[in-house]
């Protein structure tokens, strides 16, 4: 073991702030709270917020769940009975319905001050990526992105360089602000007790941006980020018609979500929102089946924590085979339909 590893491990164990936190937990717990910012849509909690609650619980402080928007009261009653939630704060104001950071970040800022919050946790989703850095700037804090491990109240693990390096960092800010990688934390389960619901303070900051429209892919399949199985197509699919013709039945046969490589997305075979990789979604399903994907490092960044990786590619030297638990070298246009048929007949 290198010097730096030994040193840093010792550093974590004997960190005075960690020990102090444990010793004085009871007396200061009122001032040492975690705020979990949760996402909801159409009156339902978004599933990745369950992972946020688990990550928040790992900080060993009372967790206040935060919801904003006109539907937030209804969602709050469901959140109140989730494991690890000690209080729910609600800003039931339609001004926050579109999650505009220009008014939502000041709302968070006010509540963090009022509640004596020391830790803020939300998802490293489009919501968290948009909201958190702006909030952090308002609080003069350097946030920690895409946290995949919590090793103490101020020590966090995150990937850098497309997941090729794993960094363990210690935050010296008075408030720690994290966006978490959903796949690294289990979802929170329901609880028998019910937490109280309170109204948040609302500064009613005017948003300087306006929401115009959204265009979301209508999708009957499991959500890509949380699916148990993912089938992903790449440039090898050749065009959009064959992408749909090959990948859709395969996904149906496996009950899987569909993903895509950047090459497939750029070429227009698949929607942008299906991109798996460093700049797209990060997935860690039980099974990741890569079809016609070579395995560039940017793609591997988004899927290499999958439990089992399988690959179909005609190029025996494709880098994907270096990470695949099982690889089939062959023409995807013949072997994939064969695989689909055999999967169906096994049902």
């Amino acid at each position: 073991m290198s010097y730096i590893c030994t040193f840093s491990r010792a550093g974590i164990r004997s960190s005075p702030s960690l020990l102090a936190g444990r010793r004085t937990f009871a007396s200061t717990s009122r001032l040492r709270n975690t705020l979990a910012i949760l996402e909801h849509k159409d009156g339902e909690l978004i599933s990745r917020s369950l992972n946020v609650l688990t990550a928040a619980s790992k900080l060993n402080k009372p967790v206040t769940a935060f919801l904003a928007g006109s539907a937030s009261k209804g969602v709050a009653s469901k959140v109140a009975s989730l494991s690890g939630v000690s209080k729910v704060l609600v800003a039931a104001n339609a001004a926050y319905d579109k999650n505009l950071p220009e008014n939502y970040a000041p709302l968070l800022q006010e509540n963090i001050k009022k509640e004596g919050i020391t830790h803020v946790v939300t998802s490293h989703s489009a919501f968290g990526k948009n909201m958190v850095p702006r909030l952090a700037a308002l609080l003069d804090v350097q946030p920690v992105s895409d946290v995949m491990g919590i090793e103490g109240e101020d020590v966090f693990v995150r990937p850098i360089y497309a997941g090729n390096i794993i960094a363990t960092v210690k935050s010296t800010d008075p408030i720690k602000i994290l966006t978490i990688r959903g796949t690294a934390f289990a979802p929170a389960a329901p609880n028998s007790s019910t937490a109280p619901i309170e109204e948040a303070v609302d500064p009613n900051t005017e948003a300087s941006a306006e929401w115009v429209a959204e265009n979301l892919a209508v999708n009957e399949r499991p959500d890509l980020s949380s699916a148990e199985r993912v089938v992903s197509g790449g440039r090898g699919l050749k065009d959009q018609a064959s992408f749909d013709k090959i990948m859709t039945p395969l996904a149906d046969a496996l009950g899987a979500a569909i993903g895509a490589s950047r090459a497939a997305v750029d070429a227009g075979y698949a929607d942008n929102s299906l991109q798996v990789g460093q700049t797209g979604k990060v997935v860690a399903p039980q099974l990741y089946l890569a079809v016609g994907i070579s395995g560039a490092i940017q793609h591997l960044a988004g899927m290499k924590d999958s439990k089992v990786i399988a690959a179909i590619n005609k190029d025996a030297d494709a880098p994907i085979f270096q990470v695949a638990d099982v690889g089939l070298v062959g023409d995807l246009f013949t072997v994939t339909p064969e695989l689909t048929e055999k999967l169906k007949s096994q049902k």
């Binding site: 290198s2 730096i4 590893c5 950071p101 220009e102 970040a105 489009a126 990526k129 948009n130 909201m131 850095p133 952090a136 700037a137 350097q142 920690v144 992105s145 990937p159 850098i160 360089y161 090729n164 390096i165 794993i166 363990t168 210690k170 935050s171 010296t172 300087s208 941006a209 306006e210 115009v212 429209a213 959204e214 979301l216 980020s225 199985r229 750029d266 929607d271 942008n272 929102s273 700049t279 979604k281 039980q286 099974l287 290499k304 089992v308 399988a310 025996a316 085979f321 270096q322 695949a324 638990d325 099982v326 690889g327 089939l328 070298v329 072997v335 695989l339 055999k342 999967l343 096994q346």
Partner: protein, 256 residues
């Protein structure tokens, strides 16, 4: 007449996207000696977008495109590339130690004020730190509206800018009045290659040099790196030669 756009484009020098980064032998930092460095790919999109805005709206509406970089003296190379692509001038804020996004955002905030700019187009993330924070922090510091992960930017009448953003599950469109901060996503455009002529011309364009201290800032770090490690490499499990072989292996692994 359209509202003039005075654009700042922050650019970062990073390890080239095609290089697999390695830790140095002491495992204290990522090895950069002898490693190919390039402009962060998202920053190329920022430059390209500002040039396309100029092409569409005219030189008089987009009179100035300033490329700014914070980093070592070698970041001048990245600024030359930005100018070879078409940026008018460049500012290098020289600092040898690592700078966190909060400090970068604060420095950019000072540059914005000094240059009286009204549009910052910044990459959505740098491919080294993968933080994805700088643009949003800058918007927060300035109190400007923000539109992140842009895949389409349209300048409307009256100083309004409409942006299509990539979000989970599709796109979202927002609009805001200038000044504002936009961060670029891969789908925004296809960056141009600088021609040899333009590379030669860029050598004569000015690079202004400053230090962080000129803005009353220092590269103080809020995040202390305790440890860097390479993830445990995944071992490929070998190949099979038939669909039946694939199915039986997946069953053994409990994946189906």
């Amino acid at each position: 007449m359209a509202t003039p756009l005075r654009i700042i484009v922050p650019v970062k020098r990073v390890i080239d996207y095609a290089v697999k980064p390695r830790l140095n032998s002491a495992k204290t930092a990522v090895e950069t000696a002898g490693v190919k460095m390039s402009m962060n790919p998202f920053d190329e999109l920022s430059i390209e977008e500002s040039l396309r805005l100029r092409a569409k709206l005219g030189q008089s509406t987009v009179p100035d495109i300033l490329a700014v970089s914070l980093g070592s003296a070698k970041s001048a190379d990245t600024l030359r590339t930005a100018m070879a692509m078409g940026a008018d001038r460049a500012l290098l804020i020289e600092e040898d130690s690592e700078i966190e996004p909060l400090v970068v955002a604060k420095a950019l905030g000072k540059v914005v004020e000094k240059e009286n700019c009204n549009l910052v187009i910044v990459g959505k993330q740098s491919i080294d730190d993968d933080a994805g924070q700088t643009g949003q922090m800058l918007a927060g510091i300035l109190g400007w509206p923000q539109a992140i992960q842009a895949s389409k930017v349209e300048v409307l009448d009256g100083g309004w800018v409409q942006v299509v953003k990539e979000v989970d599950g599709g796109t979202e469109t927002v609009k805001a009045k200038l000044p504002m901060v936009i961060t670029t996503d891969l789908r925004l455009n296809e960056p141009r290659y600088a021609s040899l002529t333009n590379i030669m011309k860029a050598k004569r364009k000015p690079i202004e040099k400053k230090k962080l201290s000129d803005f009353g800032l220092s590269a103080i770090k809020r995040l202390e790196t305790l440890k860097l490690a390479e993830p445990k490499p995944r071992q490929g499990g070998g190949k099979v030669d038939s669909v039946d072989g694939l199915l039986s292996r997946l069953k053994e692994l409990g994946a189906i």
